[in-house]
Amino acid sequence: MTMGDSNKNLYAKMIVDVVLGPVLEKLEKKDVSAAQTLRAAFTKVDNTLPGFAYDYVKGILKKAEIHDKFDLCETLLQLGGSQDCEELRISRQEPTFQELNKCATALKKILSRIPEQIYDRKQFLETIKEIASAIKRLLDAVNRVIAEVPAADNGSKQILEDRKKEFVRYSKKFSNMLKEFFRDTNQNQSVFISANYLIYQTNLILRTVKQECC
């Protein structure tokens, strides 16, 4: 598969969330200052040079001579559900926000199972049903958060609504990729990519809520 720019950018952002983020969190326990400096540096460079994190990690994998031993897209998807860092957790303790945390984690976890289940039709269909439920629960949770935003704060409400719409757009793409896959089972990579986009969009929702409500 040819790496399009948009896919590379997606992988870079996923790498920041699910590879670098958890590693830096561990580093924070030993050296807070170093971890925070590195985090800021990666974020700044990746914003300036989109895709940098991807090139960086690819370079490390090449050096270790394991870059061709696994599929990065699949691996990022698997990591997307199992790795969670503080940066992606909403700190507000009210039930509405904690429910959103829970729903986001649940959806990411189910999506991350796709690579191991996609080749078992029966199991995969059950997973898709779970994904449908999880998407519903997540967006219901987002609606409840939006409802809690003070009426006067229309700007934040609108930003959250836009983020929700974007998520729905990627959900539809994911559903379309599934249809394509069931017509042609060689399209598994497209399913992995669109599932990765969905995980990324979930993380964006969490970041946006943190930004607007915390």
């Binding site: 898709i128 049903k129 998407i135 519903k136 967006l139 609606n143 729905v168 249809k179 069931f182 089972t185």
Partner: protein, 361 residues
């Protein structure tokens, strides 16, 4: 498995190699037996098989388990005694079974004409069973509606053909089920796209959603629909038709499912019983019990309401049970001797739950 099937065109044994779509890629089957790339996935795909049409046995009870060899043979024996099927099948009963992802068709075919005997949509098929009875290869297809089923009885020349038909019908079940699951995902996304209140909805396994509050389903809700006044039912029916005309096919499907189930109940239950049903269903779906036994108590009341003679209708409640209580409801049904399998489309968005089986002996 041979490519193509030879069949007799006429009594002179004129042979014609039929066009067959089953150049099977057997190596594509994964460990669960499902072909990764179905032979029936295109709309135009179909396969034909030569079989002998024995007959149709009517009035099969819905809960009859045709995975049980004895049950199947018992039904066939009854069919013979009641002359629904002949004692012996002659060559005149040679027919073509045409299978596609949409339906099974049974036809007489001679040189120029086809005569349709029966067409059964895939989603109406509850189960297909192969029984080898002392060298007679019997294929039994149970199909029908929630209250009563029929059994289509066919004979095959070889066990291989019977097994092949079973396997291909399983593929078609899978396709229909796959389509339904993807549709569920699309429906869910479509619904949440416009939802802003996050009103509670019932999620059942194939996602045929239905809101007790009626917000997502303006045609119906079990708690709001008056079960005692047929005039209200007609109004609701026309609203659901209007919904379907406006393109909300998923909602109108739900409404149709509910309407169909309520029609059955209306024929079997008294006015007071219908009112009690409405209350109990609402209780089940609004339930947040501190003690799980409280939910069991409600299930017991439902079971008592239905009684032994109507308990087979309980399966029809499945699409309307709130997702978080669904597993408990299933368990409760199993304890009462009502077993459901979640194998096929017919198990959740139709009424009785059945699975495709092969029972070769």
């Amino acid at each position: 498995m041979e490519n193509g099937e030879w069949f007799n065109m006429d009594s002179m044994d004129g042979m014609r190699r039929q066009q067959s779509n089953y150049e099977v890629v057997n190596e594509s089957r994964n460990s669960s037996g499902y072909s990764l790339q179905s032979e029936f996935h295109r709309e135009s795909d179909h396969s034909e098989y030569q079989v002998q049409f024995a007959g149709i046995i009517e009035d099969i009870q819905v809960h009859v388990d045709i995975t049980n060899r004895t049950e199947v043979l018992r039904m066939i024996d009854r069919g013979k005694m009641e002359q629904m099927i002949p004692l012996k099948v002659s060559g005149e009963r040679n027919t073509i079974l045409s299978l596609s992802r949409y339906n099974i068709k049974l036809m007489y075919r001679d040189h120029s004409a086809e005569t349709l005997i029966i067409r059964v949509p895939i989603h109406e098929i509850a189960a297909v069973c192969y029984v080898n009875d002392d060298g007679v290869h019997i294929l039994a297809v149970k199909y029908g509606n929630p209250e009563r089923c029929s059994l289509l009885v066919l004979y095959c020349d070889t066990p291989g053909r019977a097994e092949r038909i079973c396997s291909d019908v399983a593929q078609c079940f899978q396709l229909v089920y796959t389509d339904a699951v993807v549709q569920l995902l699309e429906d869910t996304i479509g619904r949440v796209e416009n939802s802003s209140t996050g009103s509670p909805t019932i999620n059942n396994e194939n996602g045929r959603k239905y809101s007790l509050e009626g917000q997502d389903n303006p045609g119906f809700s079990a708690s709001q629909l008056s079960l005692t006044d047929p005039r209200n039912a007609s109004k609701t029916r026309s609203r659901s038709v209007a919904n379907s005309d406006s393109g909300q096919s998923a909602q109108s499907y739900q409404a149709e499912l509910l309407r169909s189930y309520l029609e059955q109940l209306r024929n079997k239950f008294s006015v007071d019983e219908l009112a009690k049903f409405s209350t109990l269903l609402k209780q089940i779906n609004e339930f947040s019990p501190k003690n799980p036994m409280d939910l069991q108590a409600v299930f017991k009341e439902v079971f008592q309401l239905y009684g032994n003679e109507r308990k087979h209708l309980l399966a029809g409640l499945c699409p309307f049970i709130y997702e978080k209580h669904y597993d408990k409801f299933l368990e409760f049904l199993k304890k009462q001797g009502i077993s459901l399998d979640n194998g096929t489309l017919s198990s959740r968005h139709s009424f009785p739950a059945c699975t495709l089986v092969q029972s070769a002996t």
